[in-house]
Assembly symmetry: none
Homo-oligomer: 206 residues x 4
DNA sequence: TATGAATGAGCGTTCATTCAT
DNA sequence: GATGAATGAACGCTCATTCAT
């Protein structure tokens, strides 16, 4: 997007692009408030354009959904790839959980994106869940391989748990609370150290 | 239909009550299949009564919603009251989580009831969340008081976590998986034993 | 329809039936004026009922079409069956052509019914053309068998010709003119008598 | 596109005329396939120009319609003028009927043009019918004057009959069939010879 | 001048709710 | 009380037409 501004050969797109962005922002807002049920009329009105303009940019509701949510999902995928480089796999997994919670709590359309990933059966829902599942797998597998994570809880289980923690929120500023909950859950996932080793470490601290 | 006109004098309420029950059952079924989007015409048809009869019992869509979901929530409340009698507060809490997961996985309208408790802003949503919050509180407080549960995670946090675990499911038969996840989460909530005590217990087992 | 009035067990249909009739009349009028293109909104408005009522009676445009036009077509079919009893097959065919022209010129929805029979590909169009084709066949076959009608022009050719004569009209009162045209066409279809016989008949007259 | 800006000064009309022709051809094709219902966007796309260009040439849908169909009608008018030179007026009339049928069966937009001439009330419909009426008159009058044609059937009657024969067709390749039907009709229009004369001619043949 | 993005009135359709029977 | 026909606001979507580039 940024790059295209420099390749200024196609000019008559300035306002069109602006409308597209306005529509995406409006859709994110409307869908967030209505749980993805908002009318396209409302999206167009919120964006300040005619309904025809919305349909020119996104010929189906699905297309708008996809445009709105794909970018959100891809950001989580990117985060997972970064953390996969980390040396400590359990720490990387924990950072991913924290990162997810942080992004979902902060970014506008992310909650709706996750809700759709869980609930929907449309193309973007399948894409979203598949992408997130792979992202989680990328960090979960090494963690299990390290022997420090219970192997009987799958990556998808963790993914759905954290998503559930983010979605099942009634209050407003929940980032801290949910981060703590994710930590609690991850603590539960850790293979208990042999007491001897725990005792040894306890002595070292004390 | 014609025949019932003659019996209508002898039992003026029996039919009405039966219709009410048929409508509630039908609504639970229809709302479950459609994610709460089903038409009232479909509910009436499923119940085998006219749309007018539906409206006599439930003057708005909202009212039907409320009646359907209140009973689901009340069953969870009942479970909480039973378990509050239990001697071991942590075990009681664990049983409540298991019971919730079991009921939600099994009972027809429960998923939708929880979704509304979390998401909605209507009367029934407020009632549902308040009721469930109190139910969880009833078991959480003694468990924290026993010193075996981390005090920095609230009853509402636990409630929302378990609800989230139930809602964020794409596959079909998830009772086992989510019960295990709830256990993992509860494990994470347990205050770690002093290593010495753990060692002692370890010896006892071996 | 007439008979059902006597079987007066189902009462609550009085106004409903009236609405149905109003809708059929309105549809015939609107479709006639617009060549079958009129909006359903206009039909409902013309009938003086809400659009929802139209949809309750006729859930698709096709269903309304069918209800409007089937009765028109069936009247032509009835006429054909009556005339099939006639002794003189050519006279019967001529009477059928006159009858068609007369009915089409007089009855409200008939022109549109024929237009659809010719033009449409929907169910009612197929039904209409098939029915009319059989009706014409019923009278054409004996006429050809009598040896007095050219055998190289099919019943469908005649049918489409007469329909065409009725449809291709710009002026208002065309019954007389088209009847004469149908006669001219039928004259052209007659196998020329052997001159000797013609001469003989000529003498008889003179 | 960019290049043409430099050549636009040298030939200001060539492109424009070419576009006009492309649009007319595209419109004829699109209207034929859709029964006159095609969108202007589709016409422009088929022509390979922008919708704005279409509107520059034809400021309303009606104007495009008119331009498309006028040329079809004018071809029939030309045919009539040619045949008016013929010596045998009845043969000329027959040739005109054959020619009409042939052109309508073959030429792309002709069926639609006739349908509009008959059905429409717009400018082009009036022009079309008037033109065709005059064309038919030109050939009909001498034929009637020759005494060989029934005088009680008007030129407009013949015109509408032949148009009707062409329009009322459900099958595909109908040129032969309709040509025969037109002949039958014309046969019916011929003034019957006096039997004596027929007998004389019969003898001459035998 | 050519382009195609923007507009919005209008159509087909659904469905919560009302009301006559 | 029960029924289901009637209503009409509102939604999804199309497309003729306008206008900025």
């Amino acid at each position: 997007m940024e790059r295209e501004l420099t390749t200024a050969i196609r000019r008559p797109r300035a306002d069109s692009l602006r409308n597209r962005e306005k529509l995406l922002a409006a859709a994110a807002a409307v869908f967030r408030e209505t749980g993805g049920q908002g009318t396209l009329e409302a999206v167009a009105r919120t964006a300040g354009v005619g309904i025809g303009t919305l349909y020119r940019h996104f010929p189906t509701r699905e297309a708008l959904f996809e445009a709105v949510y794909r970018r959100e999902i891809d950001q989580l995928d990117d985060l997972s790839r970064e953390l996969a480089e980390d040396d400590d796999p359990v720490a990387a997994l924990r950072r991913f959980l924290h990162g997810m919670v942080g992004m979902v709590a902060t970014k506008k359309g992310m909650v709706a994106a996750l809700a759709i990933a869980i609930d929907g059966s449309c193309d973007i829902a399948v894409y979203s869940f598949t992408t997130l599942s792979a992202a989680m797998q990328r960090l979960h597998e090494p963690a299990v391989a390290s022997g420090r994570l219970r192997p009987d809880v799958s990556a998808d289980d963790i993914l759905q748990t954290v998503i559930g923690m983010c979605l099942a929120r009634r209050e407003d500023r929940w980032e801290g609370a949910v981060t703590r909950l994710a930590d609690v859950f991850l603590d539960g996932l850790l293979v208990p150290e042999a007491p001897a080793m725990a005792l040894r470490r306890e002595s070292a601290r004390g």
